[in-house]
Every structure is written in C-alpha cells, then in structure tokens.
Amino acid sequence: MASEVEVTIVTVRDIFQDEAGRKSRFSDEYKNLSALIILDKQDLIRLDVKDGQRLLVKNEVGSVVVAARTSEDEAHPGLAFMYNSPWSNQIVSDAVCESSIPGNKRIKATLSAAEEDITQISEIQARMQT
C-alpha cells in the first residue's frame, strides 16, 4: 500500500460522457461521467482505495479531485485514463511541442486518496478568474 502513486494519464473520449456534455456542461450527469479517473486494479490496491472513492490528481500544472473507476481493460499498471473535459484539463500543461500540440496524451501526475469532495464545475470556473 502506498499513500501516493505516480501514473501517466492519457485523455480519451467516451460517447456517454460526450452526449451528457452536449446536453449540459453544468449537469450532475456530465460531472459524474467526466470527473473520474480509470485505473488498473493494481493501482487501486496500491492506493488502498475502492471503485468510486475520491482521488486527488496532482501535478505541476494543477490539481483536481475525481472519482476512481476500475478499468475493464487488460492490465495497465501505471497508466490511467481520463475523459476529455474541464476536469482533465486542470492537469494538462499548455507547454506545447514545435507543432503547438499540447500534452493531453502523456500527463504525469501523482494520485492520493482525497478527503475533499469532487471538484465542482463552479470551482473550475472560479479558478479561471483568479
């Protein structure tokens, strides 16, 4: 068991989350389908958290609290997935390569169990104004 686990996060798409976002960016449905991180079973065990528990995802860009979800994919310890959303963008650097492509597909971050609630969209909006 570790209090912190280092992962590489790749942002991906999901049709259910996409549909929810088209209906409303401010709904609970969109938040529940966006504010999550999909982890390998072994990483959940290392963190001693269960599916649905809250995790703080943190790196040099920022931080966000999301729910843990167990991956149904083949084993991929150390590799996590988040859906493209304002939640995943809290930790995406806008330092770009020569082609001006941001780093959405290889985000280094640290995970730890969180006491706080899942980050609300209103909090993300407030952060943009500071």
């Binding site: 209906k23 959303s85 806008d94």
Partner: protein, 407 residues
C-alpha cells in the same frame, strides 16, 4: 430528411418530427447525434453584456466596439460554423488585422495540412464503402467519436466491390493505447501501443514489411499484421488524436509508412476530424491565405506560424471573439484561464464555460437545425443543409456580417 451536424460524418438520413417545441420522433440518430439534437431545447443563450441581459442589437454593437478598439484581436473557433460563416469570419479577420485560428490548431491540423497539400493520399468515405477491405483505426475510436462510421462506411455496409462486407471481405485493425469500444469489436487485430509509442510501432511495421525482425510488439502478431497488410487490396487509415498527439513532430514517419504501403498496394488516409466543419475551415483558409490555420493579418498580408495558434495568442491578444466552440472546457487550463481574463465575445447557441466567462454573449441559431448552409465532411465532400426548425435567431454568418458592418 435532416442533416446531423453533431460530428464530421454529417449524416444526411436523419428523420425528425417536431411537436410542441420538441422532437416527437427521430430516426437514424446515433447517441451523439441524439444529444446534439436534444441540445436545441436546453440551456440556450440570451444576449448579454457583463452578465446583464440586453437586446441582440446592443450585444452586436458592443462586440463591434470591443473588436474595433482592440490592437491585437483573436478570432477563434469556426469548426462548428458553416462555410458561409467561416468565409465571413476570414473577411472580418482581414478587416481587423486580427489573428484567426480554429480547433484544428491543437487537433488534426498537422495531418490535414499534409492531406490538403497532397503529401498524403486520401479518398472519400464513399470510396471506403465501395472499395476498402482494410480499415485501420489508429489512435481513433469511432464507436465513441463517430458512432455511425462503421455502419455507414468502413465495416458493415455492402459496397460496390464489397458485397460480402464484414462477414468475409472487410477487416478492421485498431492501434491504440487502450482497448477502446472499437478495439473490442476488432479484438483479433487490436495492437496496443504505449503512450507515445506510435512512432516505434510504425518503425516495427516498416521492419516486418521489409522482412526484418521488429523491435517492438509481439513478433508473431507483427508478422501476421505484415501478411494482412501485404494482402490488402484497398486500405485506408483513419488517424485520431491518439496518433497525432503521439507522433507530434515526427509526421514524416507516418509519411514513410504510407509510402511503403503504397509500394505494395493501395492505402489512403482520412483524418478522424471531430467538429462538423473543421475541414471546411482548413480548406477555405488554404484557398484564401495559403495556410490552413494560425494566421495573422496584422501587417495586412496573411502570416502563418505557431505564434498565431490559440494556445500562444491567448496570452498575447487583447480581445477575443469565440464562435461555436467552448475553449474554456476543451483547452488546457493555462490557455483557458488566459482566454477567460480577456474581453471575450462568445457567439454560441448554448450556454458553456466560455459563454459564462464572456463579456458579451450573442446567441446564434444551431447550424443544421435552425440555420442552413454548407459544410465539408471529414473527407472533404461538401454537404448542403436546410434548417428544420423555425427561429428568429441569427445564423453565425449573419452575426459576423452584422459585426463587420458595425465596425
């Protein structure tokens, strides 16, 4: 029949019946399209200045005032607007001496530039339906991003030369960092790559095609892949952001792979463009300026470069007009925050993080549902559409034209 502008497939066979201000019956919409159509009735924007509701004329006048007074304005978005609105937007950029950019700047632009300049061979989706026996989804997951791609074009339909379709004549191959919904469908030919490992995987394919031992991947599977590729009669690769973001500045590897594949057989490429008219903007910009995106008209003549991308310009411009896009949701936090601090004009049919942060909000008609126009499908085929819902709202084109007149 209606056209769905929910993604760049621009499905033309949508049946939608309206009753009492909502859809009583729809046919042929995918889940994504259904969300897109339903969105016509929720969270619509109203004209606003500084969070106060105003009439449309005042909002347009204020937008014109902001842009007129700005020294370095940015005009951004465009991928969810018609070709007619995009053409008006390019004229507005010229008139203002502004920077203009679209979502391709951090999306498929790097590949689209090669497609439009003829460096990479391409075809239409109708060619895919009629002739393709191999479709490679590389870093793309149409089951999530373009849900009717497989059924209308690439896997299930019976085409001119593919009457036996997926049962006997079509094979899908998926290269991805995860076993996506599409990868689960074609699990016999799913190849997992590590994040950033797409270039190595391309080198491995090049090696096996030349009879060498690949450095990455399961050797037996790679040899099987090589055999499938060599037997292909008419292949097509559909690159998604997974591949583009992984290769970054190494696109010449992809060009090498295509050259090799085309020595053996026929292989084309269609980028898996997300927004319904991103390609249209790129084609129009190329035609009018010689560049597909990231253009500044500050000195009069169009100048192109990474310094004119939205990610760079968000920090250097002094006002921004965002149309049909929600960069505050979609872009990295630093860029989103830089945009949120600007005098921001948002033209959008629906509430978003961008409209919430905007100084001026101008509501617009939803393209395809409330406003007609023309768009370029992901393969470049032009699709014309008529509105199916009556509205008094102005189209994007009308709004841009009125702003230009007011300036």
């Amino acid at each position: 029949m209606a056209i769905c502008t929910g993604c760049s497939l621009l499905c033309e066979d949508i049946v939608a019946a309206l009753k009492d201000g909502s859809f009583s019956h729809v046919k042929n919409l995918c889940r994504k399209g259904h969300g897109h159509f339903q969105a016509a009735f929720t969270e619509r924007t109203v004209p606003m200045i500084d969070k106060e509701q105003v009439d449309q004329d005042r909002a347009i006048a204020k937008a014109a005032e902001i842009l007129r007074n700005a020294k370095s304005p940015l005009l951004y978005g465009w991928s969810n607007s018609t070709l007619e609105a995009q053409a008006a937007g390019i004229k507005l950029a010229e008139k203002l001496g502004a920077t203009i950019d679209d979502t391709s700047s951090f999306c498929q632009g790097i590949l689209m530039e090669r497609i439009l300049s003829g460096k990479i061979p391409t075809c239409t989706l109708d060619d895919v339906r009629n002739f393709a026996d191999i479709s490679i989804f590389w870093g793309s997951d149409p089951s999530s991003s373009h849900p009717r791609h497989l059924s209308r074009f690439s896997y299930y339909p019976r085409g001119e030369k593919r009457q036996k379709s997926y049962e006997e004549e079509r094979t899908c191959i998926v290269v991805d960092v995860r076993k996506s919904a599409t990868a689960r469908l074609c699990s016999n030919y799913y190849f997992r790559v590590a994040p950033g490992g797409d270039g190595e995987f391309m080198e491995a394919i090049l090696a096996v095609l030349e009879g060498k031992i690949p450095k990455v991947g399961d050797k037996k599977k790679m040899i099987e892949l090589s055999s499938v590729l060599k037997k292909t009669e008419w292949g097509v690769i559909f690159p998604g952001l997974g591949m583009i973001y992984s290769l970054q500045d190494k696109m010449e590897l992809f060009e090498r792979l295509l050259a090799k594949l085309n020595e053996i057989t026929t292989f084309k490429v269609i980028p898996m463009v997300g927004h319904y008219n991103m390609r249209g903007f790129n084609e129009l910009m190329r035609e009018k300026t010689g560049f597909i995106n990231r253009v500044s008209f500050k000195g009069g003549a169009p100048v192109h470069g990474p310094e004119y991308s939205v990610t760079a310009t968000a920090r250097t411009c002094d006002a921004a007009l965002v149309i049909g896009s929600d960069p505050l949701s979609a872009l990295p936090f630093g860029t989103a925050r830089a945009l949120a601090r600007l005098p921001l004009i948002a033209i959008d049919p629906r509430r978003s993080l961008t409209t919430d942060a905007a100084k001026v909000v101008i509501p617009s008609a939803l393209s395809g549902l409330e406003a007609g126009g023309t768009a370029a499908r992901m393969d470049g085929v032009k699709i014309k559409f008529e509105p199916i819902i009556d509205t008094k709202l102005l189209s994007d084109e009308q709004i841009i034209t009125r702003i230009m007149e007011a300036i």
